[in-house]
């Protein structure tokens, strides 16, 4: 996969040359000379630090600024705005060029909006509270009461991979799932690994990440892509810039900086 991407990136770089990126986005953005990037409200740690993407702190803002530079924008030309999930996928004109809020790329979503190449591939991880005595096996997970966030791809994974005996409860956002865990209404929740690690470390008292599903083993690993309106001409510029960032290794660097290699989270078999 990475090899293929790298080869594709190399091809793009060879054909396009470095300078083409500067002019690629000209006239294709919402406001000329500005790049408008939307994120969630609030933008959660570790994706954005302190809900302030304009500082460039956190994985997604860092990627956003690196991408903007690569596309020939100055940091001052990046304009941040906020949208909900629903606003991002509704039909009609969008009030952003790019939307970064951990959108999983799925074929059904591709029909309505455009996604950039993935900027992150997240394994799914199981968050439990006081999970002593729980083993990271599918058999043990089946017996738990699950909670998931409605807008993520966690629900299909729970239903298909784990197939729990009692039907999962579904919530609007991360905070509500955590609240339900505190109230003892759900035993376990499925998040992407960075979110799960953060919740277990900072938000959920006694929370621990029980295990993770190998990203490459699932039929559809969770690729996060930047969302654009359908047929947005900016897509090729974004993809070319992302390819360059991957090529240089700076994307991996940002990932290491903000979403450090999680250690000690066993794989669930």
């Amino acid at each position: 996969m990475w090899k293929k991407l790298a080869a594709a990136a190399l091809g793009t770089v060879l054909i396009a040359g470095g300078a083409a990126a500067q002019s690629c986005a000209a006239g294709k953005t919402l406001t000329d000379g500005k790049l408008t990037i939307a994120t969630g409200n609030p933008a959660y740690y570790p994706w954005a630090i302190d809900d302030m993407p304009e500082t460039g702190q956190g994985f997604e803002p860092a990627v956003a600024y690196a991408l903007a530079m690569e596309m020939g924008f100055d940091a001052a030309d990046v304009v941040w705005t906020r949208t909900s999930f629903d606003q991002a996928i509704q039909p009609g004109a969008k009030d952003f060029d790019l939307n970064m809020q951990q959108f999983s790329i799925t074929t059904d979503r591709e029909k309505v909006v455009d996604f950039s190449e993935p900027y992150y591939t997240a394994p799914m991880a199981v968050l439990v509270r006081g999970g002593d005595g729980l083993e990271a096996s599918l058999a043990a997970l089946k017996e738990l009461k699950w909670g998931v966030v409605a807008t993520t791809t966690a629900l299909p994974v729970v239903m298909e991979k784990i197939a729990p005996t009692s039907s999962p409860l579904v919530y609007d956002d991360t905070a509500n799932v955590v609240e339900a865990m505190k109230a003892g209404q759900v035993d376990a929740a499925l998040f992407d690994l960075p979110t799960a690690l953060y919740l277990s470390a900072v938000v959920l008292e006694g929370g621990q990440v029980l295990g993770q599903f190998p990203a490459d083993e699932t039929d559809n690993p969770d690729h996060f892509g930047m969302l654009m309106s359908e047929g947005n001409p900016l897509k090729e510029c974004v993809d070319a810039a992302l390819a360059t960032l991957k090529e240089e290794g700076s994307l991996a660097g940002i990932e290491a900086e903000w979403l450090q290699e999680a250690t000690g989270v066993p794989l669930i078999k």
Partner: protein, 269 residues
């Protein structure tokens, strides 16, 4: 048929024809003008996708059973509690003054808070006290939140019914030698309750719609199921399906309430 009847029949025919033509003109205008809007193709695929409709309808209908279930067990509790509160507010004895105060405060508080907030606060707050399963179920506490809110409304409706009974009824009951309790039970309440049936029917229609708000605290009922489909398919058609399913139940109910209202009015005039 005399001349007058003939004239009236002709008038009726004319008004029917005019009403028909104007209705047809409005419908035609909508059917012809809306598709001329520049964004219509996107809206059509996002909200009126036949394939998505067919795919999601059966599951959404099953999910609606959850709403109906919650509604069914809430209604009797709401009616009993609402009557109790209404009687508490109408207590005449000086010794029972605290009861009157309680009734007034209860009604003010629960009519003054949006249902969603009550559901959030009760649905997450009470189970957070550390109740063991199954007593912390969101179904239980969501129901409690609905019951608290709607019994306040129903209490007010019943109280207005009780106060609308003419004082001569009370005086007649006293003359017959009935005590206060019997007067309320045999004379006032039967008339009062009958009088406010239509208003209470409208309350119950509103309740049936508000059951969907329980999805905020976990249960996967029709609104949440539609939301899940929306995020999986990036398409809003499931919401349209859910709206249609609601209408199938609520329209007959509101019509019936209106019929009762008219019947009472005609009976009184």
């Amino acid at each position: 048929m005399n001349r007058r009847q003939a004239y009236e029949a002709a008038e009726r025919r004319r008004s029917l024809i005019v009403a028909g033509i104007s209705t047809l003109a409005v419908i035609l205008a909508i059917v012809l003008l809306v598709p001329l809007a520049p964004g219509w193709p996107q809206v059509k695929t996002s909200f009126f996708d036949g394939a998505v409709f067919a795919q999601t309808f059966p599951t959404l209908l099953r999910a609606f059973l959850v709403d109906v279930m919650i509604f069914a067990w809430s209604v009797p509790i709401i009616l009993v509690l609402g009557l109790a509160i209404a009687l508490a507010r109408g207590a005449q004895t000086p010794a029972l003054f605290p009861l009157r105060i309680f009734g007034a405060v209860y009604v003010d508080v629960f009519r003054g808070i949006p249902v969603v907030l009550t559901i959030y606060l009760i649905g997450f707050g009470v189970p957070g006290l550390g109740l063991p399963r199954p007593w912390n179920s969101p179904y239980i506490w969501g129901t409690v939140a609905l019951v608290l809110t709607y019994s306040a409304y129903v209490a007010e409706v019943l109280r207005s019914g009780i106060e609308s009974i003419h004082s001569s009824q009370r005086n007649a009951a006293v003359c017959l030698g009935l005590n206060a309790g019997d007067t309320m039970r045999y004379v006032i309440l039967p008339q009062a309750i009958r009088r406010v049936v239509p208003a209470n029917m409208n309350m119950l229609v509103a309740l049936q719609k508000d059951v969907a708000l329980l999805s905020f605290i976990g249960p996967v009922e029709i609104l949440r199921q539609a939301g899940i489909y929306k995020s999986l398919l990036a398409n809003f058609t499931p919401y349209v399906v859910a709206a249609i399913i609601f209408l199938m139940v609520t329209v007959p109910a509101t019509r019936y309430a209106d019929y009762l209202l008219n019947r009472d009015r005609n009976a009184r005039s």
